[in-house]
């Protein structure tokens, strides 16, 4: 203490506080927070069946060959539109249902299309998982992982439906239980192409084509590619 009774600690504390405030004022301003990176838009194409699993029997070929041909065609169209694609198979391979879901989940895809073909029914059938929508959880059960994505999958099915209808195709929507789809953690829709819808009884019109018809497959693939472009624009909207 000095003669006036003041403590020497007080000037020291004032000095320290002033120093801190001065250094804070002289520090460069923090850079603005960078916007979160936009997730890469990836589409997974799952050609159903393959290898030892031929799937259904179509008039001219097995379902596994039809889905692979459609997968290759759709991949080319999406790549031409600068959309990255991950396919579950590129050849006649046996792939487990769980492996298909693993590929889609590791790709962190924004859409997964599981391609099927059938002789029954007409037009294109779109199926979304029949799981009850659940809020997302940190650890999702493997067999019902799709439950947190069902709402987005329904939205994706709506976009596909619009594109296929715009292309003049007959479309039916439904819900089903598919193990591969039920384990995916991304918007996922099973697309089953049946025979082309009948074009009327006019004998001058061409007969309805089966799902293995290349021209019919091309038109379906074009519509699906257009739907993916629309889905990408929706996904990138804030």
């Amino acid at each position: 203490m000095d003669a006036l009774g003041r403590s020497p600690v007080l000037p020291l504390a004032i000095f320290l506080v002033a120093s801190i405030q001065l250094s804070a004022a002289q520090a460069p301003p923090a850079p603005p927070a960078a916007p979160p990176p936009t997730p890469r838009f990836v589409v997974v194409i799952d050609a159903a069946h393959g290898g030892n699993d031929p799937g259904g029997r179509l008039p001219a070929q097995a379902e596994k060959d039809c889905t692979l041909a459609l997968s290759v065609r759709l991949r080319s169209l999406l790549n031409a539109r600068a959309i990255p694609v991950v396919t579950t198979r590129e050849s006649d391979l046996t792939i487990d249902q769980n492996r298909r879901a693993e590929i889609a989940n590791h790709a962190n895809a924004q859409a997964c299309l599981s391609l099927h073909a059938s002789q029954s029914g007409a037009g294109v059938h779109l199926f979304v998982s029949s799981l009850t929508p659940d809020p997302p959880t940190r650890f999702a059960p493997w067999k019902t992982a799709q439950a947190a994505w069902v709402t987005r999958s329904l939205a994706l099915a709506g976009v596909l439906n619009s594109a296929l209808l715009h292309a003049g195709m007959n479309v039916t929507l439904g819900r089903t239980a598919l193990p591969a789809i039920d384990s995916m953690t991304c918007p996922a829709v099973a697309v089953e192409i049946g025979a082309e819808a009948a074009k009327g009884s006019d004998p001058g019109r061409p007969a309805a084509a089966g799902p293995e018809d290349p021209a019919y497959q091309a038109s379906v693939a074009e519509a699906l590619a257009a739907a993916m472009l629309e889905w990408r624009s929706e996904a990138h909207q804030p």
Partner: protein, 236 residues
């Protein structure tokens, strides 16, 4: 030179062997006849003619992927399991008929049994593949229950229906997402429409679990009967 006594002994043994073979054959035939007489399949009781009752069928249509309600009048037994089997048999008869909107061969004989069990409430969300209860109660008539006694069904609780399909039906079912899903959903919806306590449905094929129906529709999960909602009004 073989001694004479050995020759005689050999002949005696050979004759004894032949005699024993004849006796054994006769015993076997008698046992077989006894077995057949115990399995007399001739009807001992005259079948009771059940009165015709209205039944609601959810009939699938492949053209638009819809399930349409159709009313039928059927003679139905009082036993719930037999009742369910008869209604599903009628549904599959419609599918097997010529000109069907959902052609599936097989008909009524494709339903081996229908079992009704107390439902597990944990499966009501539809997002779990509940395993079958360890104890099952065969509700169909004409078959005896084996194993431990089955749990009694609560008077008004929800029920799980286990539909046992035949392997021939599954082998001949057309392959495809839509057609298989429609078959499964129409069975679930028809059961719930006629037996409202049935809220869950599981499928077996020849008494065994099977991964899928014909390559697509999952048969390992428990289906909620409410999944099958008719898409349009009553169909004439």
């Amino acid at each position: 030179m073989i001694p004479r006594h050995q020759t005689i002994l050999f002949i005696v043994l050979l004759a004894s062997s032949a005699l024993m073979a004849v006796v054994l054959w006769q015993l076997r035939e008698r046992a077989h006849q006894r077995l057949l007489s115990g399995q007399d399949s001739s009807p001992a009781v005259a079948p009771a003619v059940a009165p015709a009752e209205p039944a609601t069928l959810l009939v699938a249509h492949d053209d638009d992927g819809s399930l349409l309600t159709q009313l039928q009048s059927l003679p139905l037994p009082q036993d719930p399991g037999g009742r369910a089997r008869a209604i599903l048999g009628k549904l599959l008869d419609l599918y097997a008929a010529p000109g069907s909107a959902h052609p599936v061969p097989g008909g009524a004989s494709s339903i081996a049994q229908v079992f009704l069990l107390p439902a597990q409430t944990s499966a009501t969300t539809g997002n779990n593949a509940a395993s079958l209860p360890a104890q099952s109660a065969p509700a169909t008539s004409g078959r005896k229950a084996h194993g431990p006694p089955a749990p009694a069904l609560p008077p008004d609780g929800p029920q799980l229906a286990v539909v046992n399909l035949t392997g021939a039906f599954v082998a001949s079912h057309p392959s495809g997402l839509e057609t298989e899903s429609l078959t499964v959903l129409s069975i679930c919806g028809t059961l719930h429409a006629n037996l409202p306590r049935v809220t869950q449905v599981r499928f077996l094929v020849d008494g065994q679990t099977r991964a899928n129906l014909a390559g697509h529709a999952d048969l390992t999960r428990t289906y909620l009967a409410t999944d099958a909602v008719p898409t349009e009004g009553a169909h004439p």
